[in-house]
Symmetry: D2
Subunit: 357 residues, 4 copies
């Protein structure tokens, strides 16, 4: 099979670097277009990220020699690739993502800007693949022919949304109270100063609680009149904290259902969980999406974040809650599952559903 | 005033060391008796803690030369002091605290063993000083003349119990969901291996959630037939985590009241809060017991744990909760307010109430 | 005594904040003028540092209400104060320090810019107070009447220069090989990203090794023809590392002398060390300048940095070196002794020597 | 090829666990015998290490079901394996390693006990493979037929010994001054309490400096009269520090040669370095043994310790030293190259040299 040429908007930032690293030997996609802000543009990728490459492995050889275009050179993108991953900041996304889509390039986005746009899916393939059916009307409404925008949710919710979604259809989630302990890599680079977070916890991350409380409702939402209407049946309250951990967002979750399951039912659903990403054998899908650990003191960020190459969700400590029905602890890798890896999984789903050809 | 001679059971451990440090220049009490396990006994205190002194300041001069007795030399204690602080492990407490009380020495304990004993107060002076009225019947039932046992609660609950108690009488607490992020010093020394906690979070502390859920109910309880009956009106659910912080337990709290107050009412009660410890001018009481910080990102362990010499409670981020009524973040110093400092405050209250003379 | 009004150039940065904090109750000096870069200027100090105050104690009340001028409003400085502390970056120092001195204000600087200027003393009061005698010729050469510039050395050398200087006169230092492990606060704020330094060591700090190797030679230098000539007799080789420590620079030192002392001679000199700062009873001088610890595993940054209110030097592990004569470990607090505290000590010396009146 | 059955003495400790993990799919060796101290013995491996398995990957399936014998069941070892890896403490090594060798089992040891025994090689295959020629006389002297003991050096010296040895033959090392910054995993488990090392540096590791100064001399030594005589030509001085890093020992090295090379000569030798481990294609040898990084701020423990699957040595910052000839920074993974991985490499060399058949 010939690989599909793809571009990366915001290729020099931390998420962009992760895209490059994860796509290095991707079986379906090949990076052929890179762009960045004007002041990083105009050189090879290697020169553009000099001294700012933060990945554990070296810059992929071939991609290191790609030219970095300025993000406004959309015609170049059209020449060189078939769709783009967007790893740009929200305000830049506001300016450019629609331009790319209008020009004919599907945009698989990490940015927050369009998460509230009613006809843009906030996609977690395991949960709401059905929301992709809104794309034709998204295109029609805007007069786009081939382009469209799909985005992914904030990294803070990825650790527990899948385990909860696995239970939602049968038992109906009603209330979720979640306290997150989030890694510093979630703030990008340079991100959190060591002076602020070392030997400390910061009980606040700007806008994080709002995202954590709202995005899941849209993901669980229904399409009505070509808009995704957030579910009115679930309520979420979030406490978001930054902790001195490099990678891996941990969440303590208490949950109440309309029809409470037993502990055994929950465990059996989690253990049998086989989402569309596994049945479709998406390349980035982990072998097992939900890993339940029986040990009393798991999951832990350092020990469990890399499970399933950083794409699995590790869960533990399922037990009754004194206030709601159950409580548990969940973990996911915030820059893999929660950022670039999640974006690639979205693109893989889109590809199998023939949205990228 | 002549100072009251006091003893420390378990003087060589981390809590014992904190007692020594905090009592160095105490206006009312003077350390005159030290004891430890048999293998640490039989030398001067300085020799007994050699290379194991973990306090930031040097061993107090006078106390460094005190002889360390074995914990079973109770007659020596009787000779040398008038009451004792108990900084021993729960299983040792089981064996010895009653012996000391029976011998005639009041025991102001940090240990967990008697927290479930119905006629032993679990004391936070700001909240349940009234529980001291059970002491005469505690003595009578056991045939003790001068001795008795008072204990203090687990360090994990100290950060938010006082702010909640300040609201309880007027608005009646009903439900509390708390997620703690606790410092490594809570595990004593050597405590948590660096390999386990560095660049990590451990979402489990043995027995901590049970204590966090039960002890407050007793503290809010009533005395009926010479027993302290836990309140049946409050329910607590706790997630307890160990984080890579040296000192300072942080708690994210969501709370529901029988009669929900407004945000302004809560803040005004907290700001005006003047507990008995301040009206009695107890030497270890902070100038202000509850410090509310307006900054969005406070309290933080490293920045706020030492407020009020480690005896104040710092609170922040009071805001509505999507599920219960309100949520907030609270912090206290776990080895000062939460351990030795709390024990000394208990003794100071007992002294002013004439239980120690 | 009426206090001397002083100004702070760069009052909003981390070093500037330390100056404010340390001068809060200074017996001789009183802060009356604050300035910063134009974009921080034009408001009260409290407003100017909002959310960027990084000190453990609150902003001093009185100073919080001072107006922050722009650094180019030198005439305002002249109105309001008698000398200034300079806490500005090297390139800003280049532009402004001479202007302030020319305008008639002595500049007690923390900046690196003038450290290589031959007639500007790089002052550690305990070592080279005699270099102040160059000030009249510094003024004369430049046509300054009352103003002058005195600077202090880089924070990386403060931990071991004093212990070495104490031995220099009698035994003549020849070779010094030093490996430093430096705290993140040395890089200011936001400084080192947590992503770079957490669970890591960075074996490089830009320009730090050059400063570490050159500045001591000037401090040990002689005044010849109105210039301070670096000593030709000492050679230094430095390895500088950044470690995940908040405050406190640690140095492993090997040293060779022209006339090697015995271990006992070294210890006896260190223990008897009574520098001019102590005989003059400078307010910021610690009671004991060199603290030698006998424990095998000291000094340690977290345990020893605050000795002498952060102004003492803690030394340990003196033992023979297999290559040079001796080796030892030394520690000082980099933002107290090594920055603002050191600057204030310099000003105190200048004051007693009548340079500031 | 049929795999050689091997045993592990001390299989339940941290180094033993690393052996199991690294041998899981070894092409030549297969673990068939496990033993531990009596109180861990008598159950399956899985049961024996329950809750104490500290590796990032799960216990190897097959090995998890192996029975754990007591270390004194040497006859069982003889039945089940052909040679043993020793991952036991020095005092246990003293008692048992010779017994195993006497019983006919070659012992490839990690323990320190025999490092000073004159006819026991302290082996780094890249450096002193020639020392294996002493084994026949070691056996003869003790009357051992098939057994023998080979040990490996302390982990603190592994990072810089190979880069230095690469230069030794041509330029003759004379003086080495090294300051190490060592990871907490070097102390085993539970090892360093978090209270001691977090936000801190401990400038002392018991006996580490002595090992660092003496072991290299034996490794560079010559065989004379069936004894390995340490080289008299090299002198080493070491400062050893514990830093808050999980894995990876970093060393700042200054070095003097009898015939000083140029910087280019050193780099060219390092870049061309092809030791016996690579020419023999030992399975655990990295593709490139010495990796020189041009970036100014490398190597760093977190970024470079896993190079070559933890078996490569990363070097950087080669530059002239003001006192000796050159200085540089070197890094190796202390529990892979420095412990179990190094032991396996030793066994691989022994196997190719027909000592294990």
């Amino acid at each position: 099979m010939e690989k599909i040429p793809v571009g990366i908007l915001g290729a020099t930032g931390m998420v962009g670097q992760n895209y490059l690293r994860l796509l290095e030997n991707h079986p379906w996609f090949e990076v052929t277009f890179l762009c960045a802000s004007p002041h990083s543009a105009g050189k090879t990728y290697e020169a553009a990220v000099e001294r700012r490459w933060h990945m554990p492995t070296p810059i992929p050889k071939r991609e290191s020699q790609l030219y970095v275009y300025s993000i406004d050179q959309i015609s170049k993108a059209l020449e060189k690739c078939q769709f783009v991953f967007s790893a740009i900041d929200t305000d830049v996304a506001k300016e450019y993502e629609e331009q790319y889509a209008a020009a004919g390039l599907p945009v698989v986005s990490n940015a927050g800007y369009h998460r509230q746009t009613p006809d843009v899916p906030v996609l977690i393939p395991e949960i709401n693949a059905s929301h992709l059916s809104i794309l034709p009307s998204q295109q029609q409404k805007r007069g786009w022919e081939k382009g469209f925008i799909v985005t992914k949710p904030n990294c803070s919710i990825q650790s527990y949304m899948i385990p909860l979604a696995a239970l939602h259809e049968k038992f109906q989630l009603k209330k979720i109270l979640v306290t997150t302990m989030q890694a510093v890599s979630g703030a990008g680079y340079p991100g959190v100063p060591s002076w602020d977070i070392y030997e400390n916890v910061v009980p606040y991350i700007a806008k994080e609680e709002e995202k954590t409380e709202n995005e899941p409702l849209k993901i669980f939402g229904s399409i009505v009149d070509n808009e995704i209407i957030p579910t009115p049946d679930v309520r979420i309250s979030a406490h978001c904290n930054r902790v001195p951990v490099l990678d891996g967002h941990l969440a303590c979750v208490s949950v109440e259902f309309a029809t409470p399951p037993s502990r055994e039912e929950i465990l059996s659903i989690w253990n049998a969980y086989t989402p569309i990403t596994q049945t479709l054998e998406l390349p980035s899908a982990p072998e097992k999406t939900i890993l339940y650990r029986e040990e009393l003191n798991r999951p832990q960020p350092r020990l469990d974040r890399d499970a399933g190459k950083g794409m699995a969700i590790t869960v533990g400590r399922l037990r009754p809650c004194n206030l709601l029905d159950f409580r548990f602890v969940a973990l996911s890798h915030n820059t893999l599952r929660g950022a670039a890896g999640g974006g690639i999984l979205n693109a893989e789903l889109l590809f199998t559903q023939r949205y990228l050809t």
